[in-house]
Symmetry: C3
Subunit: 337 residues, 3 copies
């Protein structure tokens, strides 16, 4: 991170028009409410427009419409939120990796590591691993044998990539994620469970991001697949042989059972659950904590559950839910009379 950027430099980086002082020095990025004089802010959600006139920000990213009534320094362009996204990395306090292999890292002789890769302290790289240019692997991470990391992949601290996993270019995997753990495969016989070796792999596309402590199981046979551009939040469970289509975004705590295929461009809110062997149409929206037990062929928005209410009221309604079939029959009976 440089000491500062001028407003003109930032305009160039995101394709904006400058209003006001292009030489204004910007050292950070913040919300309208909290930004200081040396910081850039942005207005993307109309609900925050009320903060525009009183913000202390040194400059604000605005749409042409929003800029009409604003006389301060501004970066003006059609999509302020996207501009914020693009400029945000300039102000990231993360130091980044140091090129080369830290002396405490354990790299198997048969691994191929590009000299531009940054391998941090106490990392373990097992046999046969291939690591492309610009890969960054943070402290404590383990890469299992025969895995392949594409150019620019970033594995955060204490990640585990198991054996035989393929990860596409520029994909980011966050701390504690487990890629390629065994799927849950057991055959029941003679009154007990017999383990089924999980001999498939995991193939992750390019420009994917996988959150903290998320688990992606390897295939039982064949691969589990996460396609290009997918976004997975924290603590998600992706079972064996699941396929997630391009650019689908899944919030924290979601569980997807084995062999379910989620389409492209889906949005799945937090803690939703999917049974196994389903197919979900491209562009589907699933609301938080929804329980999806059948395939969805028609894109749309789907939900389950009940709203929350005071527990005292809720308990009465829960009792009635138990009797709901009976209630419906009684209403039908009344209608007949």
């Amino acid at each position: 991170m440089d000491d500062f950027y001028t407003l003109s430099e930032l305009a160039e980086k995101c394709g904006a028009r400058v209003q006001g002082n292009g030489d204004k020095q910007i050292t950070g990025l913040n919300t309208l409410q909290n930004a200081q004089q040396h910081e850039l802010s942005f207005l993307a959600n109309p609900a925050y427009a009320k903060y525009l006139q009183t913000t202390q920000a040194g400059a604000v990213i605005l749409s042409p419409d929003a800029a009409l009534g604003f006389s301060g320094n501004a970066l003006i362009l059609d999509n302020p939120y996207l501009a914020y996204a693009r400029l945000s990395s300039l102000f990231d306090p993360d130091i980044g990796g140091s090129e080369g292999i830290h002396p405490s890292a354990v790299v198997n002789d048969s691994a191929i590591v590009d000299p531009s890769a940054a391998i941090a302290a106490n990392v373990v790289i097992e046999a046969g691993v291939q690591i492309a240019a610009g890969v960054r692997i943070d402290a404590g991470t383990v890469v299992g044998h025969d895995s392949i990391l594409g150019a620019g992949v970033h594995l955060h601290r204490n990640v585990t990539v198991c054996h035989g996993v393929t990860i596409g270019d520029r994909t980011i995997i966050h701390t504690g994620a487990v890629i390629g753990g065994d799927g849950f495969g057991n055959a029941h016989a003679d009154g007990r469970w017999h383990k089924i070796a999980q001999i498939g792999g995991v193939v992750i596309g390019c420009d994917v991001e996988i959150g903290n402590n998320t688990c992606i199981d390897r295939g039982a046979l064949g691969n589990t697949e996460i396609h290009n551009g997918v976004r997975l939040d924290n603590l998600i469970q992706i079972a064996h042989n699941v396929i997630i289509g391009e650019n689908t975004a899944i919030a924290a705590g979601v569980g997807i059972s084995g062999s379910t295929k989620i389409g492209k461009n889906c949005t799945i809110a937090g803690a939703a659950g999917f049974a196994g062997h389903l197919t979900i149409a491209d562009g589907t929206f699933i609301s938080g904590m929804a329980m999806i037990t059948r395939s969805i062929t028609k894109p749309g928005s789907y939900s389950s559950g009940t709203g929350f209410m005071e527990s005292r009221e809720w308990r009465k309604n829960v009792v009635r839910f138990r009797q709901l079939d009976d209630l419906a029959r009684r209403v039908k009976q009344l209608e007949k009379q």
Copy 2:
């Protein structure tokens, strides 16, 4: 993994009868749809019978009935799925551990490690740990002081076994799992929480499998117990002093609150939740995302929640659920009239 097995060799390993060419060389295992000429496949689920006639598989594991109309190479026996489970490990691409202690591992002088154990890079073995024959501990794993690992235990990468944990023979613990972390014990007084030291342990039986990032808390007093043959999937929460009975299988994302006792041979689907201090009968089935708030004395299948539907319809029904008690009273009133 050998280069290949002949069909006759495989038949011997799983107790099958060979149909066709016993010298056929098999190098892998795959689904009927994807298997190639050198691969073995299987038919266990009648839904896939349609793929049998067109499969490219070099041989197929079949029941006697399914084999009637099939003229290709086959392994014939009563339980094809079990045969698949048994043969699967032959084709596992996992390299396995190297006998001995990797130079980068840190093993406390007071630990007792059997010479046949395989301790990988950057493993930490604390004081007083006992490690039996054939144990395999993968890279980055930590075993806390005074823990005991039975013969053939396999701890995957970056597992944490805390102090004073006992693990039975042949148990497998997957990446990121935490065995013996503190339970959630707090006493409320003077407007704040006072920590209760969790001084019990965890005792895990033989032939157990514990999934990625699953947490099993140590007992507050006395032990948390996971009995022989239990199967736990990923991201499961087992609170302090829970007991899980033999051969129970629990899918990903389930949470079990403190001191609840789950019976033997139960099957619990994903993301179900259990309140504390319950007793669940042997052989109970709990469906996905069910909320279990009372003990279950009668084995059976139990569920909660609502089905999913289009969000627009769902919102209307959710409003009515809030009024359900009122609705039931009104129906009763109508019936009186």
Copy 3:
């Protein structure tokens, strides 16, 4: 842990009155049912009073009322549960850390580590980290650059503190927890997701406890905040810019979406979920698996979901729930007639 404490010593530590033999030697702590002659027990929950007369415990912590009918050795005071909490740490079998830095730990030259801190095997301390007196960091843990650990902080094994995180005095973080991972921030444009760098931090107060494999994301802009005395159980998801008020306790598996503000002294049961940008009043109770989609301004107890029932019955009721709006309309129609 000493070999034993006399009952008088224990009485002094928790402010109790001794009944019986103050020289009685106590070597452990256990439940009324399981305690042996050399162990201390306690009666806090009236449901366990039935075990008092038959307990083998060497002494029992009792309230004055409960002690009336008990002639054995006892520690008598008003809050037996709090006394149990306070004495529990005396009997904790955890060995604790060894002062100084283990030779296998990797500590950046620019980090400041108090000589009284205990840094265990294979720990990584990155650049610019500040570690105060009495900090304990267990094996395999990574502390990211520019993080600050207050006096007496305890990071268990394989914890990850990312960069720029501040942790207050005496806070305990359990195994596998991830503090300061990136929040889930993406802007959608041109048919794909653009990552928003998460440039805020995480500020954790004093006397906080954070459970195994729990994730606390760093702020997108500004900080995620966990205030003094908060208790978080395992596998919890705290998204970016969430604020958790003082002394709130949250059970395992809860998910809290971005920018939601939970008040002080709340109690949130397991696997509840919160949408983003909500405000929850101080002192609110949320029941297990509840789905909270709007702000709560009035303290109270809130719930959602349905009770569990046999799956056969449940399926019928689920069908009726789909028709609930229609059913309500029909009842209204009947009432009109």
